[in-house]
Symmetry: C2
Subunit: 525 residues, 2 copies
C-alpha cells in the first residue's frame, strides 16, 4: 500500500509567538508557518472557520497540529488542535439505491475503525430509481416539501444516523468525523446534493452535475464535523455513476496493461472494458431480479437467504445453504441463479425458461398460484416463516429478462470496441452480485460469457472500497478525474445492436450454441 | 485607464445542446464551454449554486452569459443569464469608524451608478474604536447577544441599508449587486467578519486575521446577491488596515520610482513611505481632534461646517466659509487647523497653544466657561442653532496633542528609513482631512513638514477609491497582496524616538525653529 496521503491531515506547527517586532495576525502567522510543510502552497481558510482557527492556535500557545484538507485547488486550513488525537476519523459511504454501506477510517493509520449499514429510507417513496425520480418531481403542497426535498432530507438523515452508528462503535462523536467520501449512482448523488433528477431518465439522459466540487459538510446540514470535506465521486452519465468510477479505481482497471472488464450488477448492469490506455463503458437496465427485488421470495444476501443451491439432475433432489446457516427466509441473487441453472440441467425448465411441470424428477414441487405455476424451493415446514419459499413463473420470466439483458450488454460492448470475450484478461465482478455469485452457474444460464472460471474475479463492494481509497490516497483522487475524462460512454437505451442481441439471449444458454461450448444443450423435442 | 478586468464578469457561452452522443451533465457542459474563454482554468462551482446554474443554463437553451467570479485560486462559476443585463452592479465600501461610504459600479463599463453614505451605527456603542473593542468583549446575557455579535449585526444591517440605497438610486434591487469590495481599518473589518478584537488593542497588538480569503455574501447574511464575492482588503497590523492598503493602491505609491509618502489622518494617523522597491509604514493615535470628534463644536466636513477660516493678524477680524454656504453649525478639522494657525499668527495663542486673552485685537471674543476660557468663533446671532460656536482651551489642548503626534509620527518614520523630508517627491494626503485641509495652515501649526506646497497632493477618500479599483482591476487585486507582503510595519506605541520627538512637537511650530523656516516666530517676551 502506498504511504498515506489522506484527504485530511494533521500538520505539526511550532510558530514563534507574536511580538512587537512581528505583529502578523494569528491566522496569517499559522498559515505562514504552514507554508513549508505545504510545499509553499498558501492554505485558504473559509470565513466560517477563520476566527475559530485563529483562537485555537493562540490558545494552544502557537504550537500544535493544523487540520488541513487536501483539495485539488490547494490546501484548506479548517481547524487547529493542541495535541495529537487518538484518531482522525473519516467516513466512506456507498450510497446505494437499496442500502447504504459505510466505514469509518482512521486517517492517521489508514485502519478501519468501524463498519455500518442501513436501508435506504427513500425506498418508502419508490423501490427503484425510476419511481423515486417521479416522486422527486412532485411539487410541494402548501404545507409541505416537494418530492426532491423529501428524498434529500431522508437520505441526509440516514447518513447522519450512520455517522452516529460508526462514531459510537469507535467511541467517538459524529462531529469528530473530519471527511466524507461518497460513491453512489448518479441519481442517488443527485438526491444527496438536492439536484434536479428530471432529465436523468429522459432522453438524452442528462444529469445536472457530473463532477461536483468538494464542499464542507456544514453546507449540506450533515451531522459530521461542519468543516469536514465532502468528496463526491464524479459520474460519467445518468447511468454510469461514481459507484462505478469507484469500482474502476478499486479494481485498477485504469492502470492495467492488459484489457480487462468490470461488471457491476444491481438493478442496472454497468460495464466497463479497457486498460490503462482507454476505457469504454455502457449501462443498461438488468431488472431488479438479481438484487432480490422482484422475486417475491427474493431478498438481499443477508442471514437466512439461500445463497447457494443444487439440484441433482437425475433425482431432482434439492439441497441448499443459507447465509449464517439459519432456516431459509428467502433466496438472494446468487441462489436464484443457482436454482435456475439447476432447473435447466434437471430439465425442469425449457430453453425459454418456462417450467416443465410434467418432468417426473420433482414430484409435488409444482403448485398452482393465482398468477400461475410456482416451484416450492423450501417447504413450509423447513422455512423460517412457516410458509413455503417459492419461485414462480413470473419470477423466472423476470430473471430471464435480466440474464438476457446482461449478456446482450456484455456482448454489445465487447463487439463495439472490436474485441471478442476471449481477449479479456480478467472480468471483475462487483456489487453484492459479485461477492456471492458462482460464475459457472451464470455461464450455464448464458448470463456471463463461457470463459475459463479463473478469468472471473469478485471484487466485493468496490463502490465502498473506492470511496475508502479517496479518503487515504491522493493518487486515487487524481486518477478519479483522469478516469472520468478517459471514459467513452455508449448509450444502450437506443442501441439497435443491443436490441437484436437481447433477443438472441432470451434462451438458455443462447440461440447460438457455439457461444457456450461448455454448456449442455437439450433438444426440446 | 487599463481595460476592465472586473472581479465578476459575464462570459458569453454558446454550447452544443446535449444528445445521445454527448451526454455530459448540464453543469459540466457549461464548464467545458467556459474552458477556452477562461484560458483553460476549470471553474469551480459552489454546491449552493450548482443545481441553479445547471437549471438556468438549460432553460436558456445552452446559450447566454455565465457569471464568473475572478478569484486568485481560479474562476468561480456562480450564475447563468439568458441575456446581457443593462448593468452588472458591484458595491465598493469604505468601512469607516464614524461613517460608511459606498459606491455602486457597473462592471460592464466601470462607470459609477450611484453613491451613498451612512453613519456607522456602532457609534451608539462607543464613539471611538477602543470603546467598541471593550464593548465587543461584553459577554451575552441569558436573553441577548454578546457585544461582538451586536456590533457585527449592526454593521451588517447598515451595509444592507446602503446596498438598498445604492440599488434604488440605480433602479435595481440590492440582490442585483454581484460583488462587494470592502476597505476598512483592521478593527472595523474584524467587526464586519465577526472576528475577536480582544488582542487588537493589547500589546503586542495582534489581529485575528490580516488577509481574509474572499467569500460569498450569503455566508455572512449580506442582503446583496448571495453568490456575490466579498473581497476584503487585507491589513498589515492592528493599526494599519485595508483602508490604508487601498490608499497605497489609489495613490500608486507602490509603483512610484521616486520615494513618496501617504498620510491618512482620522482618529489615528497612518503613514507610509516608500516607492516601488520598498514600503515602510507606521501608525499612531493622533487623537480625534481632526475628525471633529473632540472639540465640542467639532463636526465632520458636512454642510454647515466651517471649512475655512481667516483671522486678520492686525485687526483680529475673523471671516469664514461654511460647506454649502449655510449658517455655521460647527467647525470641521480643516476649519480648526485654519483657526488655530490664525490664532498663532494673530498671537491670540502662545507657542504652547494657550490662549492670550489679554491681546487687544479680539475684544469680547473670549468668554469664561465652566471648564475654562473659550473663544467665540461665531456669535449666537449668526449660528445655525442660535448658540455660539466656541473653541475652548480644552479643545485647543487636544489639537496640540494631535498635531504634535502627527509631526512626531512623520519625522520618526522618515528618520527610521534614513531619509529627510526634502527627499520626498510627493506627500499624498488622504481621508476627509486630505480633501479639505490647507497644507500651508498645517505647516504653520507645525503639523506637516515645511515643504513647498506642491509636494502635497490631496487624494480624497482613497479607501473608497481603492475598493473601487479592486472591483474593476485584476492588476490591483494582485498588487494588493504584493503591497501587504512588501510593507515593513514599525510599531510606534512603544517607540522611544517617537516619544522624544512628540515632546519637541508640542510647540508652534516646533522647539527647533530651523525645521520651519517659512513660519514666523514670535518671541514670548
Amino acid at each position: 500500500m502506498s504511504p498515506l496521503e489522506p484527504l485530511v491531515r494533521l500538520v505539526p506547527v511550532q510558530a514563534q509567538p507574536p511580538s512587537l517586532g512581528d505583529n502578523t495576525a494569528d491566522l496569517d502567522r499559522l498559515r505562514r508557518a504552514l507554508l513549508r510543510p505545504l510545499q509553499d502552497r498558501w492554505p485558504l481558510t473559509p470565513l466560517t472557520r477563520a476566527g475559530l482557527v485563529a483562537e485555537r492556535f493562540r490558545q494552544a500557545g502557537f504550537a500544535g497540529l493544523a487540520v488541513v484538507n487536501d483539495l485539488a485547488v490547494g490546501p484548506e486550513l479548517v481547524d487547529f488542535l493542541p495535541e495529537r488525537p487518538a484518531h482522525l476519523a473519516a467516513m466512506a459511504l456507498d450510497l446505494g439505491t437499496t442500502h447504504l454501506e459505510a466505514s469509518l477510517l482512521d486517517l492517521l493509520t489508514g485502519r478501519c475503525l468501524a463498519r455500518a449499514t442501513r436501508e435506504n429510507p427513500q425506498i418508502e417513496f419508490g423501490a427503484d430509481i425510476l419511481a423515486r425520480i417521479h416522486f422527486a418531481a412532485r411539487a410541494g403542497n402548501g404545507a409541505g416539501e416537494d418530492g426532491l426535498n423529501i428524498l434529500h432530507s431522508r437520505i441526509i438523515a440516514a447518513i447522519n444516523e450512520l455517522a452516529v452508528d460508526l462514531a459510537g462503535k469507535a467511541l467517538m462523536q459524529a462531529a469528530d468525523i473530519r471527511a466524507l467520501a461518497v460513491a453512489g449512482n448518479t441519481t442517488m448523488v443527485h438526491f444527496f446534493l438536492r439536484l434536479n433528477t428530471y432529465h436523468l431518465c429522459r432522453e438524452p439522459y442528462i444529469p445536472q452535475v457530473n463532477a461536483p466540487d468538494p464542499f464542507r459538510a456544514g453546507e449540506l446540514g450533515l451531522g459530521i464535523h461542519p468543516a469536514a470535506t465532502v468528496w463526491v465521486l464524479p459520474s460519467v452519465g445518468s447511468y454510469f455513476g461514481g459507484d462505478l468510477i469507484a469500482g474502476i479505481l478499486a479494481s485498477g482497471l485504469d492502470q492495467s496493461e492488459k484489457t480487462c472488464m468490470l461488471i457491476d450488477v444491481g438493478t442496472n448492469a454497468e460495464v466497463v472494458v479497457g486498460n490503462r490506455d482507454w476505457l469504454v463503458a455502457c449501462a443498461g437496465a438488468a431488472g431488479p431480479a438479481l438484487e432480490g427485488g422482484v422475486a417475491r421470495m427474493g431478498m438481499r444476501a443477508e442471514p437466512g437467504a439461500i445463497e447457494h443451491l443444487e439440484i441433482d439432475p437425475e433425482s431432482g433432489a434439492l439441497s441448499y445453504a443459507t447465509i449464517g446457516g439459519s432456516a431459509a427466509r428467502g433466496i438472494c441473487g446468487s441462489g436464484i441463479i443457482d436454482l435456475v441453472a439447476g432447473f435447466y440441467l434437471a430439465r425442469l425448465i425449457d430453453i425459454r425458461g418456462k417450467f416443465r411441470p410434467t418432468r417426473a424428477v420433482a414430484p409435488g414441487r409444482f403448485i398452482e398460484q393465482p398468477d400461475g405455476l410456482a416451484f416450492v424451493v423450501v417447504p413450509a415446514s423447513e422455512s423460517a416463516s412457516g410458509r413455503p419459499v417459492l419461485l414462480s413463473q413470473v419470477d423466472l420470466d423476470a430473471l430471464m429478462r435480466s440474464k438476457a439483458a446482461m449478456y446482450a450488454i456484455l456482448s454489445t460492448l465487447v463487439n463495439q470496441v472490436g474485441l471478442s470475450f476471449n481477449q479479456l484478461h480478467r472480468i471483475y465482478v462487483a456489487g453484492a452480485f459479485g461477492g456471492h455469485i458462482d460464475p459457472r452457474q451464470a455461464i450455464i444460464l448464458g448470463m456471463l460469457p463461457d470463459l475459463p472460471l479463473e478469468i472471473y474475479q469478485p471484487v466485493g463492494n468496490s463502490s465502498l472500497a473506492g470511496a475508502e481509497g479517496i479518503l487515504v490516497d491522493r493518487g486515487l483522487r487524481q486518477r478519479c478525474h483522469e478516469v472520468v475524462r478517459k471514459i467513452t460512454y455508449i448509450e444502450l437505451n437506443v442501441n439497435q445492436e443491443f436490441m437484436s442481441r437481447f433477443s438472441g439471449s432470451r434462451f438458455i444458454p443462447h440461440t447460438d450454441h457455439a457461444l457456450f461450448p461448455s454448456v449442455p444443450f437439450f433438444s426440446e423435442t
